[in-house]
Symmetry: C2
Subunit: 342 residues, 2 copies
DNA sequence: CTGTTAGCGCGTTCAT
DNA sequence: ATGAACGCGCTAACAG
């Protein structure tokens, strides 16, 4: 039942020392091929399984990588996690998932726990409240490799895997303009987060390109929750002129707006672009007035994991600081055709 | 930088023994309140943090619970995980997430890894391929507490947290019938999984109640992927009579069917009920022809975790086998109103 | 209540 | 290329 075979057992059976067995099992070059083969065979025969806990203690690192996201149930994040899990699995790492629930306090606590558990590295997308970086700097000083994805902070020597939000915002807005919209509302999020600043910058860039005057009152900042979307829709409708387009910096708020429009019996504007929406199974049948910008979550997860694993192996070899790496992706998906523009 | 304070350091500083410190830090009742206080104060002062790895090795258990789901990116599962994570977090446990991707082979490997990592317990929803239980029985023999949720196997002494699928299937079908449907197609999944058998049983029960003759050709079994839905829709449309309703055992296949209908320019049947759909943010604006059965993923996660934690603490105290616990939940959400029937 | 002793199983020195 | 010995930091006996 209980697996009790240790390296000592197999050493005894082979009349050699446990340290040799240990070396062989770690594929050390300092063991002859012959004994290595003998040991591996015996280990197999005896059904040996390395005691991960002891190994962890000795090395004082685990083979686990920590992941921190605001919310697992947001489709974008679960897609990213999916990608992370897959890449990590292939490399023999476990993944431990944590949710900050957009709270800085929780984010701090989580990082503390992860460090206490000696994770090999951390992948994180910061919470909306994360305006102080002490806990992140602490993690850096502690020597734990980490990487941002999607939402990041500017920290020297820490890489990020990002979507090109400016381009996404630009494409979303231009899409509306090309469909004849002039007065385009924009739901934006906390300006502390680069993703929202960038999406807004994209919005303005598109207006400029098409010589549409910028109206500050069309930009509504919120936490982009569903009821923020509803409130925003209400506010936009109360303007003295009609809006004919809406670019929301995320899906949740856009959906809130859609619901509000419907509830009030108001005809939804013909074109609404949403950045941040990537709910694949639904995107094809969702309300026709929605167009979405796809966030390739899965790939982001994979890429981020690979980069992190690189850093993990490098940092253990040496102390080389890798420069800031930025991966940029963006694509616009049209609702009906599921065809990609761009 | 590195946290080096051990229980020995603080023992030395207080001129007592390390074991007493250990006991105090574990809040053992066999240390006087006074010394306990002194120790805690000193530990705090010295910035002590328990070395989890050493603790794990000594106890040969971690404070981590493993979770296995078919796919993280399915909204239902990510909701469950959310609930698990929250309940576990409150109890001081970490959560390690794994995806079987519906493959028995992966499920086996994952369980092996989890056991090797000495997780405190496991929560799992089996893959569609899981028709052999050797790996699960192995885990049981190994003494690792575990619990099924949503998709389960009948294993003596192992509890499950389930949705009342028969009732759900019944409600979905009756909903269609009450809306005037007579010829109701049904997408079902692998019959090895109880959830699909039960949903189908609910379908038949509703037909019987309303004295609608059962037609075997209306039931289509598949893996319920999106293209299965499309294929199924095609098949149903090729019948010599018209269908006027569709009850799909999951959301993905239903969406596949919807897409097919639209692509072919066919008018979607007025009422379509979907069991297994719980994509909250979208449910309110999804295609009007869809009605969904809500699966309360978050709560299931919480409940399952609490039960597991119970078993974990009991099994360490004693070897009591807890009987099969079944939690049943089901509710039908109407699209427009978001109001719950039942 | 507290101290003493003894490992958990592994990886890694230092020898040879 | 292999063996001997040590210790990672903690907890669980067993004393007293």
């Amino acid at each position: 039942m209980e697996n009790k075979t240790t390296i000592h057992d197999i050493a005894k059976a082979l009349k050699i020392d446990a340290s040799t067995v240990s070396r062989a099992l770690n594929n050390s070059p300092r063991v002859s091929q012959k004994t290595k083969a003998r040991i591996l065979a015996k280990a197999n025969e005896m059904g040996y399984q390395r005691n991960v806990l002891a190994s962890n203690l000795r090395k004082s690192v685990t083979n686990t990588i920590g992941v921190i996201v605001p919310r697992i149930s947001r489709h974008f994040f679960s897609s990213v996690i999916s990608g992370i899990e897959e890449a990590a699995y292939d490399a023999g790492y476990n993944v431990i998932i944590c949710q900050s629930l957009e709270q800085l306090k929780r984010e701090r606590k989580i990082i503390e726990t992860l460090l206490a558990n000696r994770v090999a590295g951390v992948l994180l997308s910061v919470s909306m409240e994360t305006v102080e970086f002490d806990h992140l700097l602490n993690m850096k000083n502690n020597g734990t490799p980490f990487l941002f994805f999607d939402r990041h902070c500017e920290i020297e020597g820490i890489s990020s895997v990002l979507i090109d939000d400016l381009q996404g915002g630009f494409e979303a807005t231009e899409h509306l303009i090309l469909n004849g919209c002039k007065n385009i509302g924009h739901f934006s999020g906390p300006q502390e987060l680069a993703i929202y600043r960038n999406r807004t910058a994209g919005y303005r860039k598109a207006l400029e390109k098409h010589k549409i005057p910028f109206r500050p009152e069309l930009i509504l900042r919120s936490s982009l929750m569903e009821n923020d979307g509803a409130e925003g829709a209400k506010t936009l409708l109360s303007l003295p002129y009609d809006i004919d387009g809406l670019f929301s910096a995320n899906d949740v708020a856009a959906i809130g707006a859609m619901k509000y429009f419907k509830k009030e019996g108001i005809r939804v504007p013909e074109n609404v672009a949403i950045v941040g929406f990537s709910n694949e199974p639904v995107s094809g049948i969702i309300d026709p007035s929605l167009t979405t910008i796809d966030q390739p979550g899965f790939q982001i997860g994979q890429i981020a994991t690979k980069l992190l694993l690189d850093e993990i192996s490098n940092s253990s070899k040496d102390n080389i600081i890798i420069g800031k790496t930025t991966i940029q992706k963006s694509s616009l998906i049209e609702r009906d055709s599921s065809r990609r523009i761009t």
